[in-house]
Symmetry: C3
């Protein structure tokens, strides 16, 4: 992973084949001092992917593994670090027939390359708090 912050709160990342997506994003969080932010866009390809569909507090996530490479068609999400680093991402992914699956992104390996745009903010503090009703650590905005 290499990237650059442009002094206006935007960080452009290029990830290379074989990198772990979440580890690379954590590396960027550390390198660029991101305390709160958003993943604005992400394109390229992914492989060894795990996506999820949330079935509620009792059942948790219905998971699906995708080993074969998929085009990363869209990537959106939030970054919070106040209660430990949380990267909450949703993605859509196209297979070789151009059909799309997607959902909550648990993990993935970069395939070929990824281009990712992050916006950091120091003025708003994003955190996570456990909601007993949903069973999730939900976003806080302060």
């Amino acid at each position: 992973m290499h990237g650059k912050e442009d002094g206006q709160g935007f960080i452009i990342l290029k990830l290379d084949d074989g990198e772990d997506l979440m580890d690379s994003l954590k590396g960027a969080i550390s390198q660029f001092g991101i305390t709160s932010g958003h993943v604005i866009s992400g394109i390229g390809m992914l492989r060894d992917i795990e996506i999820g569909y949330f079935q509620g507090k009792e059942k948790g996530y219905c998971l699906r593994s995708l080993e074969e490479p998929h085009e990363l068609v869209s990537l959106q999400g939030s970054i919070s670090t106040k209660e430990g680093v949380t990267i909450h991402l949703h993605c859509s992914l196209a297979n070789s027939n151009h059909e799309i699956v997607g959902g909550h992104l648990n993990r993935a390996t970069v395939c070929v390359l990824n281009e990712i745009l992050i916006r950091k903010t120091d003025k708003t503090v994003l955190g996570r708090i456990h909601n007993a009703k949903t069973g999730l650590k939900e976003l806080t905005v302060a």
Copy 2:
């Protein structure tokens, strides 16, 4: 809905289960004084959704209702207020099999939670003007 503007034109929103998505966005438009802007990203889950495919001036939108909860995988669109509040959104949505449907978003109820990023601008005025050819109130940029 609660949220915060960070002084650089970006507003981060957290919506809670049961809220009407459009009403919550209208609340944010009012609360944060948004006259023109964009929905940059939106993730979480939605239920009681209506999406549309535009078939042209004569036939209008082909609508589809989705009662069951779907992962909100991507959300993009524009906000204009000059000729009344218009929130023009397109979304992609994953079902429990991680299959995706989407299109023009007419309405939805927040399921579990939503995380939404909005950018407002005061320097560019977005409006809507009726185009007799398409039958749509199309975006104006001034």
Copy 3:
């Protein structure tokens, strides 16, 4: 195509029916002096589309043509001009049954209209360099 830059690096574009998407974006790159940037969002409809799935260096892209109009559900990508104008876009597209296909976007004609949000940056220089391993001209960030 008409649009406006708001003095904060964001350019809002409205494209009209029949315009070539890539040519219109190239026009905006020229008009607004974009040297490096990102397509943050894009909604509307497209027709006469060509999308691709990258099968690796030897096989190149598996292409698919879509003549019929599709809702443009999401659009994300990067703009670099250092080694010639490259607009690297991924999109998701909904058909009349609200089913979605997508991937790498090679070309498309605007159908009805498009609303596109671009962010330009002068502080970070995006370029392209050939990677012999993947066969692609990959993004550089400096």
